[in-house]
C-alpha cells in the first residue's frame, strides 16, 4: 500500500490531536530557550488544518496546495512558516499524483529539508527542526512500507534528539541563549518528534480528534 489522501487525512487528524496533547510540553521546552509558544503555535496550526480540512479528493498535490493555503493563513511563527513551506514543496512535487510511494518519501522530505534551509537561512547542525527532518528523511532512504517507515522514523527521532541535545542552538531566538541551550531539546525538533510519534502509531486506530 502506498500513501493516498485518505491516509493523509487520518494523519492530519492525528496530528491535530497530538499537538493538542503536546501543547504544554512544547511550550515549556520553548520557554526554556525561546518565547514559550511552540506548543500553542503547533496546536493552533494543526487545529486549523484539521478544522478546515479540504473536501475529499484523491488529488494529493491539490490536497497539499489546500493545506499550504490554510497554513499561510493560520500561522506566522517561524516553525509554522516552515510547515507552510513544507506543504508548498509537497504540493509542487506531488502535483497530479494520487499516491506517493513509500520509496519516494525520503527524496521528497530531503527536498522539503532543502527548501526549509533556504527559507530559514539555516544550516544543518544548527539544531533546528530541519536537523530532525534531515534525520528522518535520511533514515527513510529505500524504505518501502508503512510499518518500516514508522519504525525507522521513530528511531530517527530518538537518535537525533540524543545527538543534538548537548549542542548549542545556532538559530532563532534560542541562538541568543547559546550556552543555556546545551542539554535542552530544541522545541522545533521535539514538535516534529511528537508529530512522528502520532503519525507512526497503529494506523488502524482512527484518531477521533475532530471535537
Amino acid at each position: 500500500m502506498s500513501i493516498d489522501t485518505q491516509i493523509l487525512r487520518v494523519a492530519l487528524r492525528r496530528a491535530a490531536l497530538a499537538t493538542r496533547l503536546a501543547e504544554d510540553q512544547l511550550n515549556k521546552a520553548d520557554a526554556r530557550l525561546g518565547d514559550g509558544d511552540t506548543g500553542e503555535t503547533m496546536r493552533r496550526l494543526f487545529g486549523a488544518l484539521n478544522n478546515e480540512m479540504p473536501e475529499y479528493s484523491d488529488d494529493i498535490g491539490g490536497f497539499f496546495a489546500e493545506l499550504a493555503k490554510i497554513c499561510a493563513r493560520s500561522t506566522g511563527s517561524s516553525l509554522g512558516t516552515l510547515v507552510t513551506v513544507s506543504m508548498m514543496v509537497m504540493a509542487k512535487q506531488t502535483k497530479g499524483q494520487t499516491v506517493i510511494e513509500w520509496t519516494d518519501l525520503s527524496p521528497l522530505l530531503l527536498l522539503v529539508r532543502d527548501q526549509m534551509m533556504a527559507r530559514g537561512k539555516a544550516n544543518l547542525g544548527d539544531k533546528t527542526v530541519i536537523d530532525m527532518l534531515d534525520g528522518v528523511a535520511t533514515a527513510l532512504v529505500n524504505c518501502d512500507n508503512a510499518a518500516d517507515a514508522a519504525a525507522r522514523s521513530r528511531q530517527a527521532c530518538t537518535t537525533t534528539l540524543d545527538l543534538f541535545r548537548d549542542r548549542e542552538n545556532r538559530i532563532g531566538r534560542a541562538r541568543m541563549f547559546a550556552k543555556k541551550t546545551i542539554g535542552q531539546d530544541d522545541p522545533g525538533m521535539l514538535a516534529l518528534s511528537c508529530l512522528i510519534d502520532a503519525l507512526s502509531g497503529d494506523t488502524n486506530i482512527q484518531a477521533s480528534s475532530h471535537a
Binding site: D35, T41, R44, R73, T75, G76, S78, T81, V85
Partner: protein, 330 residues
C-alpha cells in the same frame, strides 16, 4: 497581570474588530488592515507588519502619512504569509511597495514568501528592515540587529516621501539612510504576560532590571539591581552615542517610549536628564517624542531611540500626517 480578554485565541481578531469600529478610515481583509482611501493616487505603498502585543506598533500606524497597510500576526508571532500578501495587495497602486518591518527571522520568512508570490502578479516590492536595537548585536553585525521603536520614525519618513510622490527607489533610499542613522536601546523592569498564560513570559525579580532586553524579552546586555533614573539615562545615552553611524549630525529626533506599565511620568523624569546630557554634547533635540509608541503589553520598562537628522529626514518627520500615535505637539 490579569488581562481583559474573552479568549486568548480571539485576542487579535477582537482587538482588530475594536480598532476598526473605532477608526472608520480603516478596512480589514482578514489579518491585513489597510486605509480605505489612499492619501494620494499613484503612490508607492508602505506596508508593515509584525506580531501583536506591541500596540500602537504596528497596526496603529496605519494612517495617512505613515503606513498604508499592515499584516497583523498573533501576539509576539510574525504575520502569516497570507496576511502579508493581503496587506501588500491592498496597498498596491502599481508604483511598487516598500516592505518596512522589523528584522525578525519569522517575519522576514513570511514577507519574503509573500512578496515572491506576488511578484508573479507583477507587484514590485522592496524590503527595508528596522534594525535599530543596538543591544541585539554589535556594530559589526548591525544587520543582525532587531527592529524596535525606531521603526515608527521610519514609517513617518517613508510615508512622507511616498505622499510627496517619490518613486519606490527614492523612498527606499531615503528611508534606508534614515534607518542607518537610527539607534535604540531599551531597559526592562518587569515581564509581560501573554494572553492565556498564567505566568509572566520571563522572570525579572523585583528590584532587578535588564539593560538591552528586547521587546519580547530577548536577553540583553546585563541584568542587575535597579538604578536611578539619571544613571539609566546616562548609560542609555552613552551607549546610543557611542554606537557608530556613517554621518552623525547635531540634530536628532528622540523617542522616549514606555514599554507598557511604566508611567509617562517616569519618562519625563528621565527626559529631564536626557535633555541636559544631549545639550552638553552640543546635540539639539529637534523632534522630541515622549509616550507610548511601541509596547510589550504590560511589560515595565522604557526604550530610547535617537535618529540623527539631515534636512530630508527632518522635513519628512515634520510633514503632515493624521495618526493618533504620531503627534509632535510643539
Amino acid at each position: 497581570m490579569d488581562k481583559i480578554i474573552n479568549t486568548a485565541d480571539n485576542y487579535v481578531n477582537e482587538m482588530l474588530d475594536g480598532l476598526l469600529a473605532w477608526d472608520k478610515r480603516l478596512a480589514r481583509d482578514d489579518r491585513a488592515v489597510f486605509l480605505r482611501r489612499s492619501s494620494r493616487p499613484n503612490k508607492v505603498g508602505i506596508v508593515s507588519g509584525g506580531g501583536s502585543g506591541h500596540f500602537p506598533l504596528f497596526v496603529g500606524y496605519t494612517a495617512p502619512g505613515l503606513i498604508d497597510a499592515c499584516a497583523v500576526g498573533d501576539v509576539f508571532a510574525g504575520p502569516s504569509v497570507d496576511s502579508c500578501m493581503r496587506a501588500i495587495k491592498s496597498a498596491d497602486q502599481g508604483q511598487g511597495i516598500l516592505l518596512l518591518y522589523g528584522n525578525y527571522g519569522g517575519d522576514k520568512m513570511n514577507f519574503d514568501l509573500a512578496s515572491e508570490m506576488l511578484e508573479m502578479d507583477g507587484i514590485r516590492c522592496k524590503t527595508l528592515l528596522g534594525t535599530d536595537d543596538i543591544a541585539s548585536a554589535g556594530p559589526q553585525e548591525a544587520d543582525k540587529r532587531r527592529g524596535v521603536a525606531g521603526l515608527v520614525l521610519l514609517y513617518k519618513i517613508a510615508g512622507a516621501l511616498a505622499d510627496e510622490g517619490a518613486d519606490l527607489d527614492h523612498v527606499h533610499a531615503v528611508t534606508a539612510a534614515a534607518a542607518d542613522h537610527c539607534r535604540t536601546i531599551g531597559v526592562a523592569l518587569s515581564s509581560c504576560t501573554l494572553p492565556g498564560r498564567d505566568a509572566p513570559s520571563f522572570d525579572l525579580a523585583a528590584g532587578e532590571i535588564e539593560m538591552g532586553m528586547g521587546i519580547h524579552g530577548e536577553p540583553g546586555i546585563w541584568r542587575d539591581k535597579l538604578k536611578s533614573a539619571d544613571a539609566l539615562a546616562d548609560e542609555m545615552v552613552d551607549r546610543l552615542l557611542a554606537d557608530p553611524v556613517a554621518q552623525p549630525t547635531n540634530r536628532v529626533a528622540l523617542m522616549l517610549n514606555t514599554l507598557g506599565a511604566t508611567p509617562v511620568e517616569e519618562l519625563l523624569i528621565m527626559y529631564r536628564r536626557i535633555s541636559v546630557l544631549l545639550e552638553q554634547r552640543g546635540i539639539t533635540i529637534a523632534v522630541p517624542m515622549i509616550g507610548p509608541f511601541t509596547s510589550s503589553m504590560d511589560m515595565g520598562g522604557v526604550s530610547l531611540t535617537l535618529m540623527y537628522l539631515d534636512d530630508a529626514r527632518e522635513a519628512a518627520l515634520r510633514a503632515p500626517s493624521d495618526c493618533r500615535y504620531w503627534n509632535l505637539g510643539s
